[in-house]
Symmetry: C2
Subunit: 360 residues, 2 copies
């Protein structure tokens, strides 16, 4: 296979061995005479796939199945923006606004109840992560977005929310690094960036949180109902969860999040070091180095015309795809998730040097 | 490939050529150097896949894109149970209760507002379809379940609701027959029975209906928002929609719903004729022949023990899977959706004859 250098922000690059396994399972799963897409979700064979993905997911995060439950839901992270306040916003909720996706989460919470934007980096077009935040002692929860795909920022350190449950949208850096995940009471991630194909959202939720859940939540938006049915209240996105499970096996085989983080740091450093050394031509967009994402690297060229030329040449010369920044802010963005090979980042840096020489 | 005889009620059997195409696309789509699962949903290449599935879907149903919009959403048909009343239940809604799934739809509507169960077959354990129903002239809509997977019944004729918009959960017989689909203002189907893998729900909605939509509906539950974004408000279940698109090509190649219905009638008749001719051993569960589903055929054997033996032997001797009736009612169920080959039904009838001889 002649693989593209795929810098898509999501759906994004997946490990080749996962693609190969999935390709086979789509034809015939385990010699059962049927595709992974044709199997009843209630069958023993499929149930084993599902339960193993839940188990491996928690193991990778270093969490206990006694304390946490794993859900694989449809509707995307965007549906979680609504489910969270529907289930847990009683008195008020604290939200930190670090960008486009945080704002969407805030909007849905406002539909439900009293939503307190406790800190925001909107004043500087989201080019930093707010620090030293004072949270409301009576908040039902604090919500953050751990990595901001569009702006290339991430929370380097998990904020201390004391006794207030911490919730996080981790869509774009889920399982990219070692963290004390037990600091979070609820975390969720659309699979299509770091752990699988679009169509499934993984939710990891502290079981003790259910004591705080509101009454009278509609069925499909009700965490307790999904947890009680072990995430099979209705038919789950079966093939999508299968792929997520294979990605988890790949992460485990590599050595877990410590190794993954080392790989990611190496790739990100390669790119950031080059940008910093050539800042007269390539200007990083993030104000403070400690806030830089290791998943989405964003920068500008001297002019929008040069940026357009950069994106075009990268695609035409080297099959480097999706380097264009998000439509809301422009510029260049390279998304270098877990499964992005270092060779792809090396090729990008090489092209950047070539392009700079020819255009400066 | 040694294919199983797969009678699963869903996720269910898919056309072999669709599995082969998908297997290839999972490795590499159109020689782009990336998997169909790795492509940005905003890329021109993926967008073409998505838009073509929408177009083909309407074409198969005989509906115009000027009048109807197609959405591919996550969360399953169960999420539609909530979305429908959230968007359209203002004064009151009429629901017909024909089984397990109708009841779930009714439950969610009751959460939203005034829900009128205008007819029900629960008195006879849902073994028939109510006739001669009088609908409420002031209802916002009428909701029916066109095919009842568990009980083996279907609406043979579309009820006349006059000026009241007709909504239908078509999950288990979507695109199985020719109908005047323009009688419906909103129809939806979880893909995993007749049109694809689990993880995507197709919603076909009359655009003029939006004038009746309620204000202040949360973003992800808001039909207008999804329609305005052409079903890409957030990342759709990309690979699932790809497969649905391939199934549509398969339906079109065969000759559309007229041919599909003829194939389905032939398969269903084979099974029903055999059951009727051997009713001393195999007892169909549906009261009236005209209410019989052509997708899910349900029957009983003389005793539950014989039913258990039947299911076990079918699997062990002939790799016939998922013949066990739904856990809520027991018995035998053979789901024979569009992609179920006639050879599978022939093999089943042959086994039924063999089993009857050995056990009666």
């Amino acid at each position: 296979m002649n693989r593209a250098h795929n810098f898509s922000a999501g759906p994004a690059v997946l490990p080749i061995e996962v693609l190969q396994e999935t390709s086979q399972a789509v034809l015939d799963y385990n010699n059962l005479g049927m595709s992974i897409m044709e199997m009843s979700h209630r069958s023993a064979e499929y149930d084993a796939v599902f339960v193993e993905a839940q188990k491996d997911g928690l193991e990778i995060l270093g969490l206990s199945p006694d304390e946490y439950a794993v859900l694989f839901l449809g509707g995307g992270a965007s549906l979680q923006f609504l489910m969270i306040p529907m289930n847990f916003l009683k008195n008020k909720a604290d939200y930190v606004n670090t960008g486009y996706w945080s704002k969407k989460a805030i909007k849905e919470a406002q539909w439900v109840g009293n939503t307190n934007v406790v800190a925001s980096s909107e004043d500087m077009n989201f080019n930093y992560i707010p620090k030293n935040i004072t949270f409301s002692p009576d908040a039902d929860y604090v919500h953050i977005t751990t990595n901001n795909t569009i702006y290339g920022t991430r929370w380097n350190v998990v904020p201390d929310t004391g006794n207030i449950p911490l919730f996080a949208d981790m869509s774009s850096d889920f399982m990219s690094r070692e963290l004390d995940y037990s600091k979070f009471s609820l975390m969720y991630a659309g699979a299509q960036k770091n752990i699988g194909p679009a169509g499934v959202t993984m939710v990891v939720i502290k079981k003790s949180l259910l004591e705080r859940q509101k009454d009278n939540v509609p069925t499909m938006l009700n965490y307790k109902i999904h947890i009680d049915a072990n995430s099979m209240f209705n038919t789950p996105p079966c093939v999508n969860v299968y792929v997520v499970g294979r990605v988890f096996k790949w992460i485990k085989k590599l050595g877990g999040l410590a190794v993954i983080e080392e790989m990611n740091m190496k790739k990100a450093s390669l790119l950031y070091d080059y940008i910093d050394a050539n800042s007269e031509f390539y200007r990083g967009t993030v104000a403070n180095k400690e806030d830089r994402s290791i998943m989405n690297v964003t920068w500008n060229l001297p002019t929008p015309e040069l940026e357009q030329k950069f994106v075009k040449e990268a695609r035409e010369k080297y099959n480097m795809t999706n380097l264009k920044g998000h439509r809301s802010i422009g510029g260049i963005r390279a998304s270098i998730y877990n499964a992005c090979p270092i060779e792809t980042v090396q090729a990008l840096v090489k092209f950047m040097e070539e392009f700079k020489k020819e255009n400066s």
